[in-house]
Symmetry: D3
Subunit: 140 residues, 6 copies
């Protein structure tokens, strides 16, 4: 292999690590976000995979359950990212958080970001739980 | 006791549960916030104790380490609450989170709230860790 | 009564005071928010009643019209709480604010939070006023 | 003319300059926002025209392409003004920015406001581009 | 006078109305903001006077006390405008609001924007009240 | 070289491209941010270099002046990132924007994020310009 080939391989490796992590955490919903970027800004999807999942979510030092707790807290507090919040409520359940834990995080955000932020996030959780029940997803 | 006395006692009980939880989590820094409200708005301090700690942080369903992870994530993302972030970085250490976990949460927020929010929070963590080292606080 | 019974009564009293205040201010819309939390996070609804309405809105020192002016201003500025803004535009009318006052508050927010925030809030007001007219609510 | 007439004329002149600038930049979409305010808060529409376009967008010192780049960046970062973002993605194209430039600005916002803000803005851009293609708007 | 002269006069009239309103509401603190813009962006100061005070604060339909209640609520909720919040806490007192009303507005914001926003605003109020006491400002 | 060596080289190459871009745009101020992260979270600094500058700022499709215009707009609007805003006001001047253009972007943000956000950013610009004058930085 030429050096150029090795460079491509390294990028691919970071991409592949990210892609596996994305599928592990977000499942189909993550893949669907990446697909929806394909004919407008595929590189934004690539950065989500490479930086978001290949770099950050692949780090040690904080387990995946705590990572998802942190993400749900942040997205609830920011209040302007409901589609991403739904993806990560499912992600939290996928990596083993309980529904009760998710509800507790959202309630706690009333203290830090106010009741409207908590309310709007809770209704997203309600939708996400309802869809899982309807689709017989049994993990949580 | 008259009913009125019992009512006061009930409120006091909720207050006392909150006060104990506040001291367990935030330690002196929490007490100092409440004191600083005394001659301007003592009721705001009372609500922090009663609602924040007596109601929410006293709930089961999410352990204190995960609660503090959630709070650090939210305050990092909101970006306009640096004094409170510092209190909760110390709180996270007080309840058994590691410095590494706190750093990981803040790094992860770069994905959801951008690098400036993560940077500004990291410098708060740097200050908090430095003060603990200087004061020989050994828990973490 | 045992002390335990009195404690329960005190909590109930705070809840009841909040519930009455909620109905006075928000009417059916408030009740409907609480109901929608019932099978996901009833305690979040309880905190809205107890803390939001039993504690804060029941305070003296600021009349209800000014309280609603403040809430409309805040929700317009935050810009991520449109369902709650609609509830409080109706609440402001319920406690005696005029439509003109609500419109003025929203216009003024263009100075502090920008024109998009003011515009999006104004369209919520337009909806709320339209619904009141359609339902022949005559208070304002 | 009396002084009163001249005053009215001056205001009208500022209004007219703004109106022309609004049509040049935002086209029909701008006009439609103003119209939708007519029976609720026409003065808010007048301020958008007079202050927003008659004062600010009519200034020299920054060309219209850079002004629209700035607006798209801000609305992407704020994340709570999607209808206005769509108007200004079209505006940017109307004044000569390329689709690629708009996509680049939105990708860059992932650094400063996080990936959810960038993602949600990108989907607004996707919609806007799709509508232009469907309507055979050929400028960009 | 030529038409050009009349145009200038009309602008001056709007400016003068705004300047008087600014002094009435904000007093020296408002004047000092305008002065501090003089050698960097005097037009931004002019827009604050003309649009902020000449247009909006001069409107009828909402009295000045309610206007200041709305502004304090918004600046507390936004949480990133502490110098402006201080100016408007003084402004509220200047137009006849009581200290108690200001404290109540800030406490209420804990419901809508969270406790950190309310806390940080309360400490600004504490500073503002302290300075007024020290300077023997007797209005409130 | 083993494949492992090539992988490291590829990462290094992305890092080096980012580092050169960071120095070109932000100069010493950028380097100083990275250094300040060294003993707390060096990986956050590495991601700024690799993702922020190696990936995003190295992209074609938007020239560096427009990239800095976008960043100043976003940081002004967000209002909670004043240290980063100062770095990028200097960066904008470094890549050839004029002081007038920076002032215009900040004034324009009054429309989208309100006057307090514009005011606070303008005072950051005033500081940055003053320091450049004092240090005889002649580029702008």
């Amino acid at each position: 292999m030429t050096t150029q080939d090795h460079l491509k391989k390294a990028e691919k490796s970071r991409y592949e690590r990210g892609w596996e992590k994305l599928l592990e955490i977000d499942g189909d919903a993550g893949e669907s976000v990446i697909k929806s970027l394909k004919n407008i800004a595929p590189d934004l999807g690539r950065y989500i995979i490479e930086f978001g999942f290949g770099d950050v979510y692949s780090r040690s030092g904080l387990d995946l359950q705590k990572r998802e707790i942190a993400t749900i807290a942040a997205l609830t507090a920011l209040g302007n990212a409901q589609p991403q919040l739904k993806v990560h409520i499912n992600a939290a359940l996928n990596v083993g958080c309980s529904r009760e834990e998710i509800i507790e995080v959202i309630i706690q955000m009333a203290i830090y970001a106010g009741f409207p932020a908590a309310l709007n996030a809770m209704f997203v959780a309600k939708d996400a739980f309802f869809e899982r029940d309807r689709n017989n997803i049994t993990s949580a």
